[in-house]
Symmetry: C2
Subunit: 215 residues, 2 copies
Amino acid sequence: MTDRLPHTLRSDALDNRERIIEAARAVFAVDGLDVPMREVARRAGVAPATLYRRFPTKEMLVTEAFAEQMHACRAVVDEGLADLDPWHGFCLVIEKMCELHARDRGFTAALISTFPNAVDFEARREYALRAIDELARRAKETGRLRPDFVLDDVLLVLMANSGIHATSPTTQVTASRRFAALAISAFQASPDVSPLPPVVRLAPPASVSRRSQAG
Amino acid sequence: MTDRLPHTLRSDALDNRERIIEAARAVFAVDGLDVPMREVARRAGVAPATLYRRFPTKEMLVTEAFAEQMHACRAVVDEGLADLDPWHGFCLVIEKMCELHARDRGFTAALISTFPNAVDFEARREYALRAIDELARRAKETGRLRPDFVLDDVLLVLMANSGIHATSPTTQVTASRRFAALAISAFQASPDVSPLPPVVRLAPPASVSRRSQAG
DNA sequence: ACGCTAACGCACGCCGCTGTCCGCCTCGCT
DNA sequence: AGCGAGGCGGACAGCGGCGTGCGTTAGCGT
């Protein structure tokens, strides 16, 4: 039926592809995912058609653009898991994840959103969550992490962290750092904390928003 | 120069105005501030021109739509101030503010944003912040609120709270409640908490976003 | 060196939102 | 009841983003 397509890109095409991804990374980091595809194309010095040819949907572009971040994400959780002190590892993960997201505005949205077609993305996400869950389990055993902590609290904190906006990247990171520290304080086991209200399983927004598109 | 305009609206105009505000409140609550003006008009059963006649700018509409919320906001901080236990009052304010914002998606944006032309709004905002500051001062005196808390932390928490999105209003509120509880845990004085990273004065986004308008 | 074909980009049609103009309607005063 | 001004809504032009078709360019294999 379908003729075999050559899966090797021409040199110029490959070059353009790289520049597109780089441009996407840059602009997503600063302005979030809600930038027009054309804007990415503009910054990459490429016509819209070219962008659409490589990445027919914004989702694909996002997935590709954040592959590196996802890798960093994995590195962070692995580092946390490797820590001999689980609580310390847990704190590290919270801090670094928050920082990662603070430095890259679009990343939270990308991570929080579910991508119906990007199985790879979803898999990595699952991996990270499982790792954090394991880390939390260990941290609870040491008694430093409050027993009523649940994995969804991490999502909650990350979503919340994404709500923090600042004008300059520096301020953004500083604010996020303080927030992470507060989150850690909140998670720390303590004799005199009141019990937490019930958990929620927060189903993320259906997909990456192509645009606001109220209707 | 300018002829005196009669500042009394006709009965039908007033009625429309009310319906516009009501529609705006409803839609802002659910979808945030980034809804098209026309959508508000549609829901109010009114032509765009009518909407624009009453509220030439979205800012004016927002200001009017959230007047009630701002009142509720004031009521909350006053209730907190009136509490005999400052720490309890402080917690109340955090909880209720978070809930207020959780129930109304647009409100955070409205409160966080600075409105260049809406002095009244700004004044109410200032009042609330001052009140919370005073409450925090007292709560610190009791030793229940951690000494390194600063007023900006409230903004931080509110911004963060606004980052929490859920599909259903119920879930939204539940999630927000848990988040508020975590925030309170974080603010609670405790012998074994690490010092917090430096504060930031987070300058909010310039104004109410008319639309994403990436540039 | 030549030609085939992938790759490029211009330009198009479509849609939704914005803000305004203008002819008709209706409230409210006399 | 009649009239006039204030109010209403349909319609319009402008803009920006989307996704694509098509004629042209240039990489790469022979």
